[in-house]
């Protein structure tokens, strides 16, 4: 068994027949095994011992008895040993709730850094045929709407809602969304929760191995009950040497859309 640190969450491996790898990324333990005409994988989330730095262990794991619940088998016709993991953003919006609500003072504009869990696409072959997508951390479901009749199902995440980027403050397995909050009204804007349109954002990787999403600008306009949301087309300026990892799951025609204030902030 040979354990080493994973330099990036976007990696391609060669796994020969009867070999396996084990990936420990945050709370996720993922074991992938290659057999003749078959790939099998098991995974589980172990919150008791999270791995701050993603690691890979090579060896032969074919005893999945301890994590049998999530065993998945995939049959295929050739013996290509190539296996790739590609990080992706969530397929729904992420509703981030700061651990303590805060007010944005009237006329002010700040950068807020919200982190959200990523999904790993496990793909095989040259064509990157998708086997399965697994979230590094399975976030809780939540409902985002003005009432229990109209709204959308989203993922909930607790966030520190950091106002500055400190070294080591973000996990390697979470994507950081820089949100530019602009309060053009004459009153304070209470921020209890914020909805990030994760499915419409690009995912980038910077030179420090941090994952970033497209930047989002949320403008609360004066004398209006609406907030305009703008998704930045370019990589965020905070991400040094950003490289595009994955395109949005939902291609939006417009990168600016207007929502009612209650639909975005709590």
């Amino acid at each position: 068994m040979h354990k080493e640190q994973l330099s990036s969450l976007s990696e391609t491996f060669a796994i020969n027949i009867n070999e396996s790898i084990r990936l420990d990324i945050g709370p996720l333990r993922l074991v992938i095994h290659h057999e003749p005409n078959e790939w099998s994988m098991v995974y589980q989330w172990q919150y008791e011992e999270e791995y701050a730095e993603p690691t890979i262990t090579r060896g032969v794991y074919n005893d999945f008895s301890d994590i049998q619940d999530n065993l998945h088998r995939f049959a295929y016709a050739n013996h290509n040993p190539q296996l790739s993991i590609i990080p992706k953003l969530a397929d729904r919006s992420i509703v981030a709730r700061p651990r303590a609500p805060f007010n944005l003072i009237a006329g002010q504009s700040v950068w807020l850094y919200v982190s959200s869990p990523v999904w790993l696409s496990v793909c095989i072959g040259e064509e990157n045929t998708l086997l399965k997508e697994i979230p590094v951390h399975r976030p809780s479901d939540t409902w985002f709407g003005n009432n229990t009749i109209e709204g959308e199902v989203a993922y909930a995440t607790r966030t520190h809602a950091r106002l500055s980027l400190e070294e080591g403050s973000f996990s390697r397995h979470r994507a950081i969304t820089p949100v530019n909050l602009v309060n053009d009204t004459s009153g304070h804007l209470l921020l209890e929760r914020i909805s990030i349109p994760a499915a419409s954002l690009n995912l980038y990787y910077d030179t420090q191995h941090h994952l970033w999403t497209s930047g989002v600008t949320m403008l609360r306009e004066a004398d209006s009950n609406t907030t305009s949301v703008k998704i930045e087309a370019d990589a965020p300026a905070q991400a040094d040497g950003a490289v595009l990892l994955s395109a949005p799951r939902i291609e939006t025609q417009r990168n600016v859309f207007v929502k009612t204030i209650r639909a975005l902030f709590g």
């Binding site: 509703v95 709730r97 399975r138 976030p139 809780s140 479901d141 939540t142 409902w143 985002f144 229990t148 009749i149 709204g151 199902v153 909930a156 929760r193």
Partner: protein, 284 residues
Amino acid sequence: MLEQIQTNLQDVISVNMVDIFRAAVIFIIGLASASVISRVVHKVASSHWTVHQAYITKQAVYWLIFSVFTIMTLRHLGFDLSVLMGAAGILTVAIGFASQTSASNVISGLFLLGEKPFSVGDVIQVDGTEGEVISIDLLSAKIRTFDNLFVRIPNETLLKTKVTTNTRYPIRRFNVMMGVAYKEDITHVIKVLMKVADENPICLDEPKPVFIHRGFGESSVDFQFSVWCTRANFLELRNSIQIGIQQAFDSENIEIPFPHRTIYTGAETAPMPVSIHHQQESGN
């Protein structure tokens, strides 16, 4: 005598073979057009309306075209339609009396069509029957129950009784009704319950879980703990949240009491003697 009858018949129905042929052609064209046009209408209606509405529209179009062509056929055959209409009127009254229930169901079906309390694919509860609606027809709705039984419910019943549509809204609430022993710290119980809900990924973060104190029962402090989930996850949440609560209570030593009975033997009698025996483990 025979000649007389023949003349009368010829007066009433003055037809010849050519007319019969023409009438047959009209009737066949009518059948074909009713079938084709109603199918086209159904296809167009399906993309805009519900399955039920599209079906009723298709039926209406079919029978309208069929009736028009039938009348044309009869006229071509020389039938006097005013006589036929009179007879039809009397027949309608007779049939009406005979088929009150069916007519009531058809009219109820039309009201249901306008009101749209549920559609095909919804899960509904009617008179203790719960299941998925597989079709809504002119006389009745058909339901497949979860134990895979086919239930036919007349439209009239659906209009008269309380119908609950489980799948109307995207999220649902599940109420856990339970109680804990009087010795338990209720604030600690609330914290444990909230933690169980927080750790269950299919339990919605918002709307928040609700704790409702339901009073002091005979043997326990009774409460309701309500959690929300998407309607697709309802059954899974129903199991996982209750299993989670029981496991959390076990690990926190929170007692879910069995019913208690205090037996009193009366004022005149001495208390019942109770003795507790500790069984010592062998080898100590």
